[in-house]
């Protein structure tokens, strides 16, 4: 792990637009120093998830400090879990966070931009469940 390696973030959504928009928002709020890679929609461009897209995104997101993956809804979790169980060429560590999609993406990306390690970034994502906005 190089001195300035940052934890990467992968956003897995059933919608390509949702993943891309959330990634753009998180990147802007965090100052653009972290790889936050969207993996939305199926390989055919429909609503759904794609293990191949997630796999590519994880490799793109990794810069040596690991990757935190955030899924939007339950069945995205199945895609990610199946991939993590089968693929043997993914970077490590890779963690799957249980967090609200937008808040978790923003919190995780900001934590990564601040130099947090994989545990800190994962914790920031999961703590987003308790953040009140009103």
């Amino acid at each position: 792990m190089s001195l300035d390696a940052r934890v990467g973030i992968v956003l897995v959504s059933h919608s390509a637009e949702l993943a891309e928009g959330t990634a753009a928002l998180a990147a802007q709020i965090s100052g653009g120093t972290v790889a936050v890679i969207p993996a939305g929609g199926t390989d055919e461009g429909q609503l759904g998830t794609s293990a191949a897209k997630v796999q590519r995104a994880v490799k793109l997101a990794d810069s040596g400090a690991g990757v935190v993956i955030l899924p939007d809804l339950g069945s995205a979790v199945l895609t990610v879990r199946a991939l993590l169980g089968e693929a043997d060429d993914l970077p490590t560590p890779v963690e799957l966070a249980d967090a609200p999609f937008v808040e978790g993406a923003v919190a995780a990306t900001v934590a990564a931009a601040g130099g947090g390690d994989i545990e800190a970034v994962f914790a920031a994502a999961e703590e987003a469940r308790h953040a009140r906005k009103v």
Partner: protein, 90 residues
């Protein structure tokens, strides 16, 4: 005992998502605990969602407090971000 510093600033703009992010990224670089207080609400400055949750608006006074070995530097850095990033249009 680690040093504690605090200083208040009056916001010249609302504390939106982007300044909250810049603030949390900057606060993370200090080992001191850093908090923001606006009105009756306080947040960990290292938590972007906590900072946004303060809902601090233009004209409101925000107190930055830090405790730890680099408390003075942390307060100065956060105040600078609040002064710059909450300007209108930021």
């Amino acid at each position: 005992m680690p040093a504690r510093y605090e200083q208040a600033i009056t916001l010249t703009g609302d504390l939106h998502a982007r300044p909250a992010g810049a603030l949390a990224v900057a606060a993370a670089k200090f080992s001191s605990a850093v908090s923001l207080t606006a009105g009756t609400s306080s947040a960990d400055a290292k938590s972007v969602l906590g900072v946004m949750g303060l809902g601090a608006t233009s004209g409101q006074q925000v107190t930055v407090a830090a405790q730890g070995p680099d408390a003075e530097e942390a307060v100065a850095a956060i105040l600078a971000i609040l002064a710059e990033a909450t300007r209108v249009g930021a």
